[in-house]
């Protein structure tokens, strides 16, 4: 597997969903549905948000998430010799926490749609959406109670809970940083990378780490998965940022330049701001100073980003992190075929279209 010559052409492959997602999907879905089977209308809101039912409570098809975080957790547990059932409560908790953060994110950003569906606050108002998010966060905690009956030893559970709590905290601090950056024109590249390492990276690397903590009694294994998970989190977010600017509308549901239009602080703009000079720099600053950039602004911003090879640079950096993710696990003994499955995962994260 070589990622040594990244290019726009190389990006055109559209990878299929790796086997590990297909393997674990049904079991994760069942566990999550069990967690959210409660009575009371707040659970109706949550089942809607998880993409299982429509607004009338009727089952829907094709609106469920891909369950990245729980899949990473189960893969790590399974690859290091553990039983999937033992990691399942933690896997469910990770997905619930992720969705809790999205519900609150929607409120903060006043986003009325996500994944082509109306968001909770846009339908039921801020108070109910806010509380529904908090319920989800707490259901995640109760899911962890099942680790004990799944046979994970108490001291190991405490370690898992501790890691997860640290990841929450980093995630939320990252969200706070992100909000603080809003309206600021020049966010440094390092500042930006630090922010996403927390906001998105914390939960992704935690998914990997926790899986290994449950799968293997050897703490060095969990440490290796932590390192590898850091790289995965980076790839995931940078690919997200690439898609936010250059993603195909048919795949992402957003027009090209969507993140420019909403002046989102993402990798492409942070990088271009740091690299552009003279007129280009001034033009970019003026675009991001506007309340609402128009079509011409978006076209100019895209042109300036191209002129400093933003997309290639971002992709090359993601590819480097793919190598790092593999390297981190090089010395770890994994069950048969796990390494190939992991390569498929990295390939997917690097080239996914949505």
């Amino acid at each position: 597997m070589t990622y040594s010559t990244p290019s726009q052409t190389a990006e055109k492959r559209a990878p299929s969903l790796p086997d590990m997602f297909i393997e674990h999907r049904a079991a994760i879905g069942a566990e999550l549905r069990r967690s959210l089977s409660g009575d009371g209308s707040v659970y109706d809101l949550l089942r809607y948000y998880m993409g299982w039912v429509d607004l009338d409570g009727n089952p829907t098809v094709g609106t469920e998430g891909k369950y990245l975080r729980p899949t990473l957790c189960l893969f790590a547990c399974d690859a290091t010799g553990g039983a999937r059932e033992q990691a399942m409560p933690a896997a469910a908790a990770l997905e619930l926490i992720h969705n809790f953060s999205l519900i609150h994110d929607d409120i903060q950003d006043e986003d009325e749609t996500r994944h082509h569906r109306k968001t909770l606050w846009a339908i039921w108002g801020v108070p109910k959406a806010l509380v529904a998010g908090n319920v989800l966060r707490t259901v995640a905690d109760t899911a962890l109670d099942d680790l004990q009956s799944a046979g994970v030893p108490p001291h190991r559970i405490l370690l898992v809970v501790n890691r997860l709590t640290q990841a929450y905290l980093e995630m939320i601090e990252g969200q706070y940083l992100d909000i603080s950056f809003e309206g600021r024109q020049e966010v440094g590249l390092n500042q930006y990378l630090d922010m996403i390492a927390r906001k998105t990276g914390a939960l992704i690397r935690c998914s990997f780490t926790i899986g290994a903590l449950i799968g293997s009694p050897d703490d060095r294994v969990a440490a290796a998965f932590l390192e590898s998970g850091k790289a995965l989190g980076f790839i995931f977010q940078v690919r997200d940022d690439i898609l936010g600017v250059w993603g195909d509308e048919a795949s992402t549901g957003k027009p090209v330049g969507a993140d420019i239009r909403r002046k989102k602080n993402s990798f492409p703009v942070v990088y271009a701001m740091a690299r552009a000079r003279g007129n280009d720099k001034r033009r970019l600053l003026s675009i991001y100073d506007k309340d609402e950039p128009n079509d011409a602004d978006v076209a100019d911003a895209l042109h300036i980003m191209d002129s400093v090879n933003t997309r290639d640079y971002a992709h090359a950096l993601a590819v480097e992190h793919g190598e790092a993710a593999l390297d981190a696990l090089a010395a770890v003994e994994l069950r048969k075929r796990a390494r190939t499955e992991f390569e498929d995962l990295i390939d997917f994260l690097l080239f996914r279209e949505h």
Copy 2:
């Protein structure tokens, strides 16, 4: 100690803060400050909200809370033979969770002040306030990590964490019910009592239960404190509701009838709605049907509440629960003087003016 003849006159005593609050206050404050000593502006917001500093970060005096929940937790631990230090991480977590819920409550209710100070969202906007609340909630979880170094055995920690998680969930479900009641004119008394048992009661009884779980290895002791704590939660909320309608402005910072003016579903109105008949009932319904009740409306509502002895009934019910709180602990062996201190606590909760 007799509570057998409750009356308006009996209520006029203004009890001083019980010894247990004074005894634990400094240690709780120190532990909380340690939990929230982090860098970054979100911690500045949180230190402001906790009442330790003003908007410029300068230390303030007299704006700190009374730390009811941690005090209950430490008292229960200490009274049942435990060391205060062991319960301190849980005590801190309880106060942090309580404040997390207040920050989000302020957003939901669009309350611009609390305890005579501007609320977070009113100063820094909804996104930052929302995330700051989430940070506080997560710092509470990290505080629990210290239970291990405080010497609480792992299986006991899991029990404590489990109880706390259940209490969170009940609290948040209660908040959701409360929001669902808004705008509804006839909330049944039982519905209302069920809602407050969750929204306010869950964390209060959990404080008591957790303290006993850490203080005593005997699970029957924790069960007795749970029962007693249920009664305490009831007294606390009903007294809050009494003060919300008849509280003295000098003490509560709110004019008489404040909860009527904001049409808050609280014990007095729920009770009066259930008891009033004929013209009184129609008048009460029409007042709560208005967007903004005026002075005459408030005066009429107070009159109707008086006509069905709302205040006396509420107080008598609280007194009954005071007896129940004591009875629940009757068979439990407590350290010397603990029972007297507990009587002082009940007295305080029944007659406090703010």
